[in-house]
Amino acid sequence: MSDSTNLLFVGLSQSGKTTYLAALWHVLEDQSSATKLKLKQLSGDRTYLNLIVEAWRACVPVPRTTLQTDDTMVALHLEGDGFGEFTLSVPDLGGEAFDQQIEHRKMSAAHAALFRQANGVLLFVHPDVKKGTQISDQDQITASIGGATEAGSGASGHAAVPVPWKVEMLPTQAKLVELLQFLLDLVDHRLRVAVVVSAWDLVADLGQTPLKYVSGRMPLLRQFLDANDDIVDHAVFGVSAQGGAIPDDKSKLLELDSLKRIRVCHGSEDDHDITKPLAWLLGGK
């Protein structure tokens, strides 16, 4: 294990990056639960971490990282069985910057440098994905339940489109593939990507593994990761960092042991160790 490891949090706006970081900091600082990674020592400026963790502990919305707030570099001095001691650098990048990369096709030089130095990536996605439902698919469903479809359905002639296309209409899976393509353009080494489906509590009742969930909701992303397995290793985690919806579940969450609010699913495993995705990125299983 090298002394310094650079991990990136990548994801669109409100995909759960900062909430994850807040919960991670709470767990590391608390030091009372069994986790794959542990805090070795306190160091550096912890103002930002303490700001976001305060909100997390009170079950109020964690302040979002935006274009107006500078990207914040967090350095964590960690250790773990099989990992030794190391410094983990995690910039908390605003999701809006990633949205803008897709729309304006430019990346700040600072972000490009971070991408190049990345040893691993946590790719965050909120389960409420924009799917890009097709009219023809909708017609199939309508027909299958005996409903009437629009006259002329199935035609492929030209017609005016009421709402013009905009980049922001891209389905989530297309946006995430674009972000990964930008990233892979810049790195020259094999990369580990941990896909984190945030707010896992919203979809856990479906009974699917996180991998199965991504395969079903974002097949293009799943194919992209599978097809590039010669340059990207990937794993999919379901993470509920907040523990529930804020403010609806606030009272219930505040009653719980704060460490038990967190839920991390990977394959058939389901526990409270929020360091698991990071440990996997660092070469663990």
Binding site: Q138, S153, A155, H158, V161, L184, V187
Partner: protein, 318 residues
């Protein structure tokens, strides 16, 4: 490093300078349909299969292209996984008219605007079985007007120089028109005229895979026996007209985006079979019986050379 995604990002030293200034941005690839020059980033790096969809206005060229991407958006297709695209935004834009978010009420395709610049859509694919080889595919779908002009004038046809690079030329016969008594003869003549013009202007490379595809098969079937009989008759006439000049001529019937019916799965399978054929690189044969030079099989080594060359060319033009 990413084979699916050749870079146009600034070199590292430029980035360092940018960082020093703290202002400048790194340009990312555009993401829309590509010009011929843009495609060099791909064609100089990897063996690439160019599939040209040709046909009259409304014959289904863009729908075909959109349907291929729509299938991949739902999962593995035709034995391939989606491994990337330099024109993801272009595909998405093409599919918009069939998206609920467009506000439309029936599946459609926006008309392709005529342009002198050939537009290519890129797909990087990975075979799901066997050696799991990577495939680079460029799809060309120009406005039907350009093919009409090519049909009207040899000079216009000779402007379609990308045809000389095509591995597969797919001429669409508009199935919807074929199903109409009034329009069916013209549908036949449009398609035949286009291939005739290509051959007359010597734009079809020797050894290229050439197909006539009867599009919108669901419409032809819905029109009944008479339309199906006319399709058969049209195929026989095209066979008679072109077989001697195009010995490997293939005929196919497809519905790229069939309407709700019990035949949907069968029709989708037809598109998958077709795409698997078009997407697999075939060694072309030159006029003297030799092989058209192909990029070396060591795509990674070749890619370094190709990338440097493409970069030098790009910079020289700036």
């Amino acid at each position: 490093m990413a084979e699916a995604a050749p870079t146009v990002a600034a070199p590292e030293e430029d980035v360092a300078a940018d960082q020093a200034e703290g202002q400048a941005n790194v340009d990312l690839f555009a993401g829309y349909e590509m010009s011929a020059v843009d495609t060099e980033d791909i064609t100089l790096r990897w063996p690439t299969q160019l599939i040209v969809f040709a046909g009259a206005e409304g014959s289904g060229k863009t729908t075909m292209l959109a349907a291929l991407y729509e299938h991949l958006g739902r999962g593995s297709f035709a034995g391939f996984d989606f491994a990337g695209s330099r024109s993801l935004l272009g595909f998405e834009k093409t599919c918009h008219a069939n998206r609920v978010i467009s506000g439309g009420t029936r599946p459609t395709t926006e008309r392709t605007i005529p342009s002198d610049e050939a537009a290519y859509y890129h797909l990087a694919l990975r075979e799901r079985a066997g050696e799991r080889r990577r495939r680079q595919v460029l799809l060309s779908s120009l406005s039907g007007e350009l093919y009409r002009w090519a049909r009207n004038s040899r000079e216009e046809c000779e402007k379609l120089t990308f045809l000389n690079r095509a591995n597969a030329i797919v001429v669409l016969v508009d199935g919807e028109k074929l199903a109409s008594l009034e329009q069916r003869v013209n549908a036949h003549a449009d398609a035949a005229g286009i291939l005739d013009a290509f051959l007359d202007a010597k734009m079809v490379p020797s050894g290229a895979h050439v197909e006539f595809v009867f599009s919108k098969l669901d419409r032809i079937r819905a029109a009944g026996e008479s339309a199906l009989a006319f399709l058969k008759q049209t195929q026989e006439k095209l066979e008679t007209k072109f077989r001697a000049r195009v010995p490997q001529l293939v005929f196919r019937e497809l519905a790229a985006r069939p309407g709700p019916s019990s035949e949907e799965e069968e029709l989708s399978n037809g598109l998958a079979t077709a795409f698997a054929t078009w997407a697999v690189l075939q060694a072309r044969v030159t006029g003297d019986g030799g092989q058209v030079p192909q990029p070396p099989s060591d795509a990674r080594e070749f890619s370094k050379f190709g990338w440097r060359r493409a970069e030098e060319g790009r910079r020289a033009k700036q």
